[in-house]
Symmetry: C2
Subunit: 416 residues, 2 copies
């Protein structure tokens, strides 16, 4: 992934907050999203604590062309359909606009707008690509066979539910479900509400059904990235999974951060995949690639109703993932399955090897309950608990870029 002047660490914007220390949206980021402020939802770009209104910039003559037009409407799907070259063209135009003549009339405060899904989620496939996540949970279950049998040969995945994906900030209703309690099957509100800290991947363009996207072309299918909370209901999931996999344990709700951090914005953070462990089979040739892992620190924080600030409970390294987003695309299309613009992939829980890098509660509990600064403890999530994800890409010599937040609060189950 080549980088260019839009990534220069010294670049500054006339939007002063873009230069604020620790800010997720410096001029090097330029993530795209769909916002509204009373009127119809439309395309915007996060810059500092502001949103640049793409339609207003077009109307003012500060943007032009097909890429900007495709990003101005109520959905980013048209831009995803145009593909990576269009996104690159738009990035350059946005960088020029936001480093050029000030135009504060094109801005809205992020605090004053509502964020929507970047597009209708067409299909959602969820992977299980972290060695540490699989190995930690698998070792607890069956120490002799901690990993799924195909783990070294392909990125294990399942089709998940597209209709229930919601933007950050949407509350999450505790679901009812069937599970085993005291030896009997019950239908009751879950007692095992969990989160899974994942990276979401938005797909660019469409491959014709029957025609795989080879690994050599797979990186060009990665439009952009977000944070993704694959809310998981462990008691229901355990009960229902054999043999067809997760269903109602996952389909209740999935939360995503609303800003799409483009593949271009993450180019400076590419790095080599971690080496395979000694004795592991090699990567199959049709999935072999290089230097397409991404250096992203991902975080989960928990805030209970009696806490005044969130407490970080997970810090996980995305660069440890065993399979990369490009490998996921190559695998997913290897049978000819057509991936569409507006499709969303989940990376799977991004856990690292260290204590504190467990990216879901099921893993944390292997060390014991969560202890919070105010003395409270948690096994699974309780009503009123809020989970907040954040993430920052970082690399030596590059300006860090972030994802904003992905948050959700657990509402009590409906009455019977």
């Amino acid at each position: 992934m080549p980088t260019d002047h839009t990534h220069a660490p010294g670049l500054t914007s006339w939007v002063a907050s873009a230069q604020a220390q620790g800010n997720d949206f410096p001029i090097q980021n330029l993530p795209l999203g769909i916002f509204s402020n009373g009127g119809a939802p439309r395309g915007g770009v996060a810059i500092g604590d502001q949103v640049l209104d793409v339609a207003a910039a077009l109307a003012a003559g500060r943007l032009r062309g097909a890429a900007a037009q495709a990003a101005a409407g109520p959905s980013l799907a048209p831009l995803m359909a145009l593909g990576r070259d269009a996104a690159t063209e738009l990035r350059h135009a946005l960088s020029a606009l936001l480093t050029g003549a000030p135009a504060p009339e094109l801005l809205h405060a992020q605090s004053a707008v509502a964020m929507h899904l970047p597009c209708e989620v067409r299909n959602f496939s969820d992977f299980m690509a972290s060695y540490d996540h699989c190995h930690r949970l698998g070792s607890a279950r069956d120490p002799a066979h901690p990993l799924p049998p195909a783990f070294h040969h392909l990125p294990v995945a399942y089709h998940s539910r597209a209709s229930s994906v919601r933007p950050s900030g949407t509350d999450v209703r505790r679901p009812w479900g069937q599970y085993v309690k005291d030896g009997a099957t019950v239908f009751a509100p879950t007692n095992a509400m969990d989160f899974e800290l994942e990276l979401g991947i938005w797909i660019a363009e469409e491959n014709e059904q029957g025609l795989p996207t080879p690994i050599s072309a797979a990186a060009r299918r990665l439009f952009g990235f977000c944070l993704l909370n694959d809310w998981s209901v462990r008691d229901v999931q355990r009960y229902e999974m054999p043999p067809l996999g997760p269903f109602l344990g996952k389909s209740l709700h999935t939360s995503i951060s609303p800003w799409v951090v483009t593949a271009d914005a993450l180019a400076p953070f590419a790095t080599a995949r971690p080496a395979r462990e000694a004795g592991a089979p090699p990567c199959p040739p049709h999935l072999e690639t290089s230097a397409d892992a991404l250096r992203i620190s991902m975080h989960a924080a928990l805030q209970t109703p009696s806490m005044t600030t969130p407490h970080r409970i997970t810090e996980a390294p995305f660069e440890r993932m065993y399979w990369t987003p490009a490998q996921m695309v190559a695998h997913h299309t290897s049978n000819g399955c057509n991936l569409l613009p507006g499709d969303l992939l989940g990376s799977g829980t991004v856990s690292g090897p260290a204590d504190g890098a467990e990216a879901c509660i099921a893993e944390i509990l292997l060390r014991g309950p969560i202890t919070l600064p105010n003395g409270e403890t948690r096994r699974y999530l309780e009503d009123g608990d809020t989970v907040i994800f954040s993430g920052q890409a970082h690399a030596p010599g590059a300006a860090s870029v972030g994802f904003g937040e992905c948050r959700g609060t657990i509402l009590p189950a409906h009455a019977a």
Copy 2:
């Protein structure tokens, strides 16, 4: 499900072919679909060997109202969103039109039109609701535990792939995939291409996320039905399934018959579910219902390139299904998952208990290879083979209604 004069067995249409013996589309059926004949795709109704053009009937003043308008465009999703009452209103108007003053100018020969998907498939969930399918395959694997552990408590299901659903007649490309051959993992064209004979279920209306559709209201979410071939790649499926279920073994292609046989049209064929086997746990109260099984005979036929006519290899009774479509809806939404108009459910392979009622090749092979009338044999499907599904609902005193056909031909795999 009440019936009315539109079901009367003696009812006849001015479309003479509607009265032809063994015809799937008598006046009592009135299935909806999207067709084109050179121009833009638009709504139509199958009657005998003809298609009634809904937009033309509106323009001619022979249909009117919101329901007909919703069925006239390039997708049936607007009518599915309006729901069952609108579909009933349209059924009555169509019955009146096609039994009233002849209007042959509103017809197109089915042989002269192309059929499309009835709407964009929003989400596709596939169930495994046949006791006989599960028990037959499970007994071969593990005679002591033939059924999935939750089988008696819920209709087992997984999220499947929406983007790769195609109308009958679209060829199916043999996929590449990873599987074990001679003890090693290979990536190669599959050697185990199978079909699964299923009923497809189109969903009406939308339930708000977090709000289940109770079993008492679930039947009203059933818009209509089609035949569905859940093409399955057994070697790939076996390899990839643990622990997250089927993925690339299913997502290559799913075929459906293009005509939507409405829930109203099937009302005369409702019957009681089969009794649970002795000693089985009772149906959970939140899924308990009655008389919503459907009497449908489903058939699969195979035609190889050297055969001149198809040969029936499967005859299966849908009324034997352990879980009904309404129970599937109640279960699917029981965690608050929102089902949308345009969502498609698959019933799972509709096998019966008898020899000859195995509704996929994996089951047939437990008795041995398929022997065809011309002396050919088949284990799994070979290139050029065509699979053709048909189905007819039947009941004493009712005019039988059918589904048309769902067919697909296997194309050779792409070169490496």
